[in-house]
Subunit: 336 residues, 2 copies
DNA sequence: CTTGACTCCCAAAACGTTTTGGAGAATCTT
DNA sequence: AAGATTCTCCAAAACGTTTTGGGAGTCAAG
C-alpha cells in the first residue's frame, strides 16, 4: 500500500524528486537519491504498474495467440519456448500473456481485441498460414509482431522459421541416395506455410531425381491425419518404399498404418519435430528438427527489437534443419 | 486511436455520458445509448486497458508461475490446462500471464514482484511444496490465489488436487491382490506435496497388508531419477516384483533400468500422469490420472470465485484418481 | 404555483505515475 | 560585481478511464 505520494510525504520531498531519484536521474543529488532508495526498499515500494503503463503509453505486455482448433498446439517444446521467451521479455520489463482462441472466435478477433484495447506492445504469432490475416491486420495497424513461421505476405515481417524446404529436400535426397525410388510424402494442410514449404522441398527433390510426384497425400497435422494419409498411399498400385512425413505426429499415425498392412514394416519413414515420444515408438522414429539454441530467447530478442523499431528485414531468422537419426529411416529400399 | 474524449466530441456528448452509455447504465436514454454504441462500433472504440485498470484498481491479470529448475513443468496436458484456464478467464475480462522463474530468483521473488507492483489480481501456483513459502506470502498479503496441489499450510487455501493418497493406496492394494508381496515405491522429492502424498498412499497400503515399507527409493521427478531409484531397488537382496512410481517420467526411467537387469522385464510397474508417450513404451505403461473434465476451466472458476471473495474452504477440489490400464502392470507376481 | 419525483445528462475528481518547464540557490567566469 | 552556468528540487500537466454528486428540464400531484 505504498504510494509515491506517501513515500514522498514521509521523506519531506516532492513526488517528482522521489520518482526521479528511483529512476536514477542525474538531477537529484547522490545523497537524496540514496535516502530515497533506502526508504523505498524499506517499505517495499514498487511503482503501480497500471499507472505507469497509462502514463508511459506502454502496456508492458506481449500476447501470444494459442491456436486451439486444428489439433495440437505444436511440439512439446512449445511450452519451453514460451517459458524462455517470457523469461527474457521479463528481463526487459515485459510480461507474456497467453491468448487462446475460444470456439467461435477467430485468431483475428483476438488480435483485434488486444491491439485496439492497447493491451499489448507486441504480439507473437504461431502456426502461420501462407496467407495470414493476422499478419495483414497487424501490419495495417503498425503493431510490432514476430511470427513463428513465414507467410507469403507482400511486406516483409519479422519471423523465426525452420528451413523446411531444405530439410525435406535433403531427407528425400537421402532416401534417393539409399536406393529408394518410390518416395511418398505425407503432407500437412497446405494452407499452413510450414506444410507447404515441406511439401515443396519433397517435390523439388523428386523432380531433381526425375521421379514422379504423385505419391503425396494430405491430412490433418495429427496422428489420425497421418494414419489416413498413409493408408491412402499404401492403396496405390505402386506403393512407396519410403515416407517423408510433415510432422512426427503424422509419422506416428503412419507407423500405425504400416503395422496394419502386409510388408508395411519394411517401409522407411521420417518425421519432423523431434517429439520426445518418437524415441519410444517401434521402431524408434527418425526425425528432423530446427537447429538453434534457446528459441524462446531469440523470439524475445526479436520482439524487443521490433518494439524498438528495427526494420523487419533485419528481424528474420531462417534456421537450418538437422536430422535426428533413429531407426525408422533405415529400412531397405527394395523390400516393400 | 479512438478516445472516449474524441468519441464524445464527435457525438456532441460528454465523456461521462458516452462512458455510461457503453457500460449500459440506465441513466442514459435508450436512443442516445444506441447512437453512442453505433458510433463506437463504427470507429472500433475499445476502452484503453491501462486507464481502466488504473481507475478500477484492478490489473485484469492473473499470473501463473512456471517452475523451471527441477525438471519438467509437469505433464504435457499442462499447456492445455493453461490454455483452458486462460480462455475462461478471458471470458471474465482477465488475461493470464506466464511467469517463468529465471535462474537465481526464487518463485517467491516472482510472486513478490507481481503482487507488490499490483500487476495481478490473483495468482495460480503449481508444483506446491508441503511447506510452500509462496502460499504463506500470498496469504499474508491477502492476494487471491489457487494452487495446483495441496500444501500443509495451517490456513486453508483454494486448490485443485488429485487424491494421490487414495490412488497410490489403491494401486498398491491391487498389486497385493494380484499376489505381489514385494511392492516397491519410486518416490519423488518428499518436499513436494504430491510426492509425499503418493508415498503415504503406498505406505498405508503396505501397512494394511502387513508388509514392510523398506522398498522405497527417492529420486528427482524425471526419467533419470526414476532410473537411478529403480537401480537402487533392484540392488536389494530381496527385489521387488512390482513398482509403483510417483510419475510416468520416473516410471519410464524405471523401465529402462528394468531392461538392463536380468529378469527385470518380469517386474510389474505403474506410473502416474498418463503421459501420451506412455502408450509407446515397451511394454505400454500402465498409469493413473486425475479424473475431471477441463481442468483449466475449473482453475479459472476457482480463481474468479477467489477474487470475488469466496472463502477458501469452499474453493477446494480433490479429484479421484483413475487407472489407465495398459500392459506394464500385468507381469506375474512370482517371476521376479 | 409549488413540490417532489423522475429522466437525462454533465463537470470534476479521482486512480498513481512520468515528464515538462521552470525556480531558487550555489558556483564559476569574466 | 554582474552574468552565466550548474546543481537540486518542485508544481502542474498529462495519460484515459470510471464514478461521484449533482443540475437542468419535464411532468404529475397537491
Amino acid at each position: 500500500m505504498a504510494n509515491l505520494k506517501q513515500l514522498a510525504q514521509s521523506l519531506g520531498l516532492s513526488i517528482t524528486t522521489v520518482s526521479r531519484a528511483l529512476d536514477g536521474y542525474a538531477d537529484v543529488s547522490a545523497s537524496t537519491r540514496e535516502r530515497v532508495r533506502e526508504a523505498a526498499d524499506k517499505v517495499g515500494y514498487r511503482p503501480n504498474a497500471s499507472a505507469r503503463r497509462l502514463r508511459r503509453q506502454r502496456a508492458e505486455l506481449v500476447a501470444v495467440t494459442l491456436p486451439s482448433d486444428p489439433g495440437h498446439i505444436g511440439p512439446p517444446h512449445f511450452l519451453d519456448m514460451l517459458s524462455g521467451c517470457a523469461e527474457h521479455l521479463a528481463a526487459a520489463g515485459l510480461n507474456l500473456v497467453i491468448a487462446p482462441v475460444p470456439r467461435g472466435e477467430s485468431e483475428l478477433d483476438i488480435c483485434r481485441r488486444f491491439v485496439d484495447g492497447r493491451r499489448v506492445d507486441a504480439m507473437l504469432l504461431v502456426r502461420t498460414k501462407r496467407k495470414d490475416e493476422r499478419v495483414e491486420f497487424l501490419q495495417s495497424r503498425g503493431i510490432p509482431f514476430v511470427t513463428n513461421g513465414r507467410t507469403e505476405s507482400l511486406l516483409p515481417h519479422p519471423y523465426i522459421d525452420g528451413d523446411g524446404f531444405a530439410g525435406f529436400r535433403a531427407a528425400t535426397l537421402r532416401f534417393h541416395a539409399a536406393g529408394h525410388r518410390r518416395i511418398g510424402h505425407i503432407a500437412g494442410p497446405q494452407e499452413y506455410y510450414f506444410a507447404h514449404d515441406r511439401c515443396r522441398g519433397w517435390r523439388a527433390a523428386m523432380e531433381e531425381c526425375g521421379l514422379a510426384t504423385d505419391l503425396c497425400a494430405e491430412g490433418a497435422p495429427l496422428e489420425q491425419g497421418g494414419y489416413l494419409a498413409a493408408l491412402e498411399l499404401l492403396r496405390q498400385p505402386s506403393r512407396p518404399t519410403a515416407l517423408v512425413c510433415a510432422t512426427d505426429e503424422m509419422a506416428i499415425g503412419a507407423l500405425r498404418a504400416l503395422r496394419e498392412v502386409d510388408g508395411g514394416n519394411q517401409i522407411s519413414i521420417v518425421g519432423h519435430d523431434d517429439l520426445p515420444m518418437g524415441a519410444f515408438t517401434s521402431p524408434p522414429l527418425s526425425t528432423m528438427r530446427m537447429t538453434g539454441e534457446n528459441l524462446g530467447a531469440s523470439f524475445a530478442s526479436l520482439l524487443l527489437r521490433a518494439i524498438a523499431g528495427e526494420p523487419a528485414e533485419e528481424l528474420q531468422e531462417l534456421h537450418a534443419i538437422e536430422f535426428v537419426d533413429r531407426d525408422s529411416h533405415r529400412r531397405p529400399a527394395k523390400a516393400a
